[in-house]
Subunit: 241 residues, 4 copies
DNA sequence: GATGAATGAGAGTTCATTCAT
DNA sequence: GATGAATGAACTCTCATTCAT
């Protein structure tokens, strides 16, 4: 077999794998994990049932493959890019949020369904196994938020007494719940600005600027500064005369 | 049949219905909706398989029955009571949150599992039917939060520019996501204080109180300070010449 | 439900169970365990596939059910009857042998096939589990041979130094192997007399009569007896004269 | 291609074939024919799935190949050697028995499993085809026992009225059944001495030796004794009168 | 000659639901 | 009203075998 042939062969394999993943993703997202049979997936992917199991040993591993691909090809790369490109904390959080929400909403349009259901699948099948590959994937993704927060605190953008875990829940819980309710009512229309509506009060609760110094304190300081300036001006005037 | 007999008969019926609901709730919560067969439910309830369908028509209606009972007997009454008893907004939100979380976590210990899975069931089977009885139940329950927020704004406890919908997502999204992650790690241990950890930054973002000066007032003061600075500057200029 | 109805209902259940067992027995015996699908069994029994599993939780339990019935309704009762009716050891062994062989050969004509294959199934599925119900069934059946041997030794019909275990192997091993080869060549024709041909050398090896007293010894004794008679006769004759 | 290269190529082929046979033998013996997939065999042999079929055409032919090799490389050669080396009938039977049993038990430790299962396979797939290659193999192997018996009778070691076929059943039936039960309880431990325990009663039933008087001779002696008794009786009668 | 991806029929089993009793 | 035997479609998954490379 020539190198060329081998390469072409590999490409075909990957194409097929992708095809199955695509079909399964769409079906799971549309009808749910349990309501989608492997037969339907095979048919939708244009392969035989055996082939599905040839590539992914079981329906569960297929699901895992979907999530793996989603995390590795969609969620993680862009999240990393965001942190590398955007530096101000507010902008980072906003970008991460929009990315998260639109990734879930995009593509199969209802990928979020998949995740919800998967939580069930996960518990049902993987049990309390803390080594679950899904956990690892999730951990690495969540790390991006953690980093944004950590650096935000270091720069003084965020309150210093914020704990990591509740923050994750605030961020992802709000976004996913919000995505669900928003899409239920308006589909993907106006999703970005809804994310802003969700983030605004959250930001208020997290940010440092008008906080450890409250607006009141800030005002006081401004007034003090003015007074000092005035006194200085007075002294100068007096000295002149 | 005497009235007495009729009454006793009715009681028996209700008792049986309750028994089935109890068994199904526990099983759904423990193993998930799809992993629980009607046969197991019947066995756990101590009735025949046919009887389950006698009372609930189908497995889906049984699930609906569980949620109906949960909303009507657990979630709603206590939420109403909270709003009737507690008056300060911070206390109300905290009580609603603890109630929500502990209701989901209590009793069957994993009732939340049920809800997650149910979302799947709901979409799978009831489709996008906006008339779904589940929606009604949910709407009425969510109303309690809406009321607490509305009254909180009226009393000046909360910022006046808060929108209802994002608030719901912030509140329930954070709580349910947090409940999930917390229970995954620690079970029901320390759940209440974790709710506090979740609510604190949220409250910071929502409350009015510590903004002793609103942005509007702040602007006024800044204007004044600027004017004074300008006057000072004028004086210097005059003095120079 | 009247008692009558309940009885009739029970009868129908048993009839159905019997029907499934009959169908499965025939198919297993004809085509082998692995080559017989539960679907075929259901069809042959005139019931739905679900019903087969309703009565026997799995294909393996169905097989166990067949063997259970075979031991309890065919093998054991007649074996017990033989020991109660026939008293001489030779006759007992012969009757047990004929019974064993003809039971295996009869009915489904190839029930023996089933046993062979089942040994495989047993090891495959029940593993080395010494608690296997099959072992119990077999133990109780083998007990009949053991008893015949024990009593045969007590009565002096059999050599006293025979061990139980090798005897079982000699008896059942020979019979089953012989049954197999005989049926392979002649079907059930002349089976009984073939059993005799198998038993004859076996009996020669087991029996006491012409053994602890060999034919030679026996002859000697006869001669001694004759001599004594002759001597006596001599004495009488002398005395007379 | 040089002759050398051709030879090396042939060697490689044979090595590969042997590797597949080895792997299949072990797996069949361990897990059974049906529970062993061709995929597992290929993996265990370190070849691709296609290669297995390249060499053996089908799973059944592979099984046949195993048996063929077993008969031709293990069973038959040593059996022939035994008959060529050992001359006394008792010793021959013992050696054949030990050889048979230990060959089945050895190597893959449970090769006997294979045979049991194979009987099933054979009937299932090769049907009643009397031309089955397995039959030929078996016939040639059984011939060794036949010869030992024939010559044993000729030498006067064995009773002259023994039939070939029942003898085969006695011999192989007892040994295989005994092997099965013994290995079930003790593995390969003490197998040889168990063979002795099986053979002893068998030998008693077959041998001529200790019948220092054959039935025919016995009859003669009995006739003589009777005649003497009759003569005695006659004398008495004469004397009386 | 060797590979291993692809196949698709068929396996055992489950399950919500029905209905005669 | 309550039962539970009966259903049969549908499920996930396995497997010997083929064939393009």
């Amino acid at each position: 077999m020539t190198d060329n042939a081998r390469r072409r062969s590999r490409e075909r394999l990957e194409e097929r794998e992708r095809g199955i993943l695509d079909a399964a993703t769409k079906l799971f997202a549309t009808a749910g994990f349990h309501a989608t049979s492997t037969r339907k997936i095979a048919a939708a992917a244009g392969v035989s049932e055996g082939t599905v199991f040839h590539y992914f040993g079981s329906k569960n591993e297929l699901m895992l493959g979907i999530l793996d691909r989603f995390y590795n090809e969609v969620l993680n790369p862009r999240a990393a890019e965001i942190l590398d490109t955007i530096m101000d904390t507010r902008g980072r959080l906003r970008a991460l949020a929009v990315h998260h929400v639109s990734s879930l909403a995009a593509d199969s349009a209802l990928m979020m369904r998949l995740l919800q259901v998967y939580v069930g699948v996960d518990l049902e099948i993987l049990g309390q196994d803390k080594q679950s590959p899904l956990r690892d994937l999730n951990r690495s993704y969540v790390g991006h938020l953690d980093r944004a927060v950590r650096e935000g605190i270091e720069r003084g953008d965020l309150r210093s007494n914020l704990e990591t875990r509740p923050l994750r829940d605030l961020f992802f819980g709000t976004l996913e719940y919000g995505l669900r309710t928003h899409m239920y009512r308006h589909g993907t229309e106006g999703l970005d600005s809804y994310v802003d509506a969700l983030l605004e009060p959250l930001w208020e609760g997290l940010s440092q600027s008008h906080r450890s110094k409250t607006p009141a304190q800030l005002t006081e300081r401004l007034e003090e500064a003015c007074e000092r300036l005035e006194r200085t001006a007075d002294r100068w005037e007096t000295a002149k005369h």
